[in-house]
Amino acid sequence: MTMPVSELLEHRRLLVVAGAGGVGKTSTAAALGLAAAQRGRRVGVLTVDPAPRLGDALGIDELSDRAQAVELDSIPRNGACLHAMRLDAKRTFDRMVERFAPDRDSAEALLENPVYQRVAGSLGGSEHYMAFQRLYELVGEDDHDLLIVDTPPAANASELFSAPLRLSDLIDTGAASLLAEPSRLLARAGSTLARASFALVLAVLQRVVGSETQRQVSEFAEMFAHLLEGLEIRVREVDALLKSPHTAFILIARPDPDEVDAVLNFHAALHRNEVKPQLLIANRLTPPPGHEREQAAAQRLRGAPRGTLAVVEHMEAELDSCRAREEQALAELRSILEPMDTPVVAIPSLAGDISSLSDVETLAAQFD
């Protein structure tokens, strides 16, 4: 059987790795990247929040936009490469301002505006939006033939897509959503309706932030309004990129019966956003028991230190019940997703954290 992953690794140009926090998106993105590089491709992995030790392993512990080459003997020396990058949401936003502002001076004024700095920095939603923006830039730079983006943790797909994909619903979410979720506003920029609602947003902003900063707010508003049209075009371009046949969405999940509903909801929501997930990776399956299990524990453990029998029997029983639960989850996921053309691939859990390149290699080998 050819792994369903192979087609993705060998032929796609963009892989988007999505899933809830902590399920292994970053680790899997790195492993997929390595597996593709081993197949001779020039790969860039853009990650949002690498776990500290994985960041160390990939050489991207410092917050940096710049591509770091990951050196590994298993990557062939025929031009193939693996680059790791970390998203810098603020700088990506800054570059968009520079790109779409009418001139240098107004770009600089906007970049220095305190309201802009608050909005561009850390407010909810902007990271998702910026991850896709950065991706768009990287596609344009053409240094890679496969880009893999590890998205910020999203509890559900609508969180992931509120930014680039939803262009309707304007009135509904309310004008002041700029405060809560500036990316939503960006997604709707450009239209007349958007301009009208933008004015409303500002009215609310002014009331909320108080008179002292009113001047800054209106300055921000004026300058930002100039960007709206450009941003609107960019939003559509990113949207088209995400829906292109060269792009594949990969969902990562834990094989846990308690999580099945959430995974299916995520999957359904992607569908509603006209995105068809091409693969579900069930990450961290308990590894299979050794062959020796055919023999009774008492026999295998003859001569072991005192107390070993009891503790080993307990541990083996616990892991068996984990396996049973995981099997149940996998069976449920397969029975629903495979008829919808989303194959399910399971990856075992390593005994420790993914903290070195050789761990990433071990994971990548799962895709052979």
Partner: protein
């Protein structure tokens, strides 16, 4: 249930949100499990709390009705996220003050996921800064009298022993402290409850017996390292084992243990 079992009147308050995926809602104020016990369970529904609050302020039923409409609620919550949190806490404060017709010794609030706990608890302060007068400000002051009184109010930060959860728990712990909110302990839940001795580990590795036991042991080692990292900052963590195949009995045993940990950390005396 731990506290309830020892005869103190305990209420468990769950917060039902409307933006982070819907959770199951219960009838407010029923007795958990239907058993005769003094543990009562309340569900505070964000939307209803907001509607109640608005009705009490403006006294127009139709405004409240409009609020129950999801679109209106969504836009209001987006427009003023802090207000929604404030009225939710105000409803909790009502239960604490016995305004729902019953008095309690201990109220356990099942707060939303870590990313939202701090915004929830600091919302009253922020809202009060923006709107310093009127009924909203009064509600904010009343809630803060509860939240900032370390004799009355304390937070237990709960995490599973996983890298991401531990990092988030520690972040929350730090930010609660710097916001001046009392924290009593970090509780690590779903711990693997066995590990090998050095001698056992060495023997199994050498004889290549039971890769399962070695794998299990490596995972519990990984959990211990995480807990050490937490404890460096938070002091001794409270620990609960993993219950497999959640039976109702196991689940209530878990709740019982959490409550008794809570009671201990708040120095409640049930004797």
């Amino acid at each position: 249930m731990g506290a309830a079992a020892r005869g103190s009147r305990t209420a468990l308050v769950r917060i039902h949100g409307h933006d982070a995926g819907s959770r199951p809602s219960h009838d407010a104020g029923h007795t958990a499990g239907g058993e005769p016990s003094s543990l009562r369970e309340f569900v505070v529904d964000e939307r209803e709390a907001l509607a109640d609050f608005v009705t009490s302020v403006v006294r127009f039923g139709f405004v409240a009705k409009r609020l129950l409409d999801s679109r209106t609620f969504a836009s209001l919550a987006a427009a003023a996220p802090g207000v929604k949190d404030l009225v939710t806490l105000a409803a909790v404060a009502d239960i604490a003050a016995g305004k729902r017709g019953e008095e309690f010794d201990l109220l356990v609030i099942d707060a939303p996921a870590s990313g939202h706990s701090l915004p929830l608890l600091t919302a009253p302060t922020q809202v009060a800064e923006l709107i310093p007068f009127g009924p909203v400000a009064t509600a904010a002051r009343r809630v803060n009298e509860m939240v900032y009184d370390p004799c009355l109010f304390s937070c237990v930060v709960v995490a599973i022993a996983e890298e991401l959860a531990a990092t988030e728990a520690l972040d929350l712990w730090r930010s609660l402290r710097s916001a001046g909110i009392e924290t009593s302990a970090i509780l690590v839940n779903r711990l693997l409850n066995e590990s090998l001795t050095d001698g056992q580990r060495a023997w199994l590795a050498k004889k290549r017996v039971s890769p399962d036991a070695l794998y299990y042991d490596a995972n519990s080692m990984r959990q211990r390292i995480l807990i050490e990292r937490l404890e460096e900052e938070s002091g001794p963590a409270l620990k609960l084992p993993e219950y497999r195949g959640k039976t109702a009995a196991a689940e209530s045993a878990e709740i019982a243990e959490i409550l008794s940990c809570l009671g201990k950390s708040l120095n409640l005396d049930y004797s």
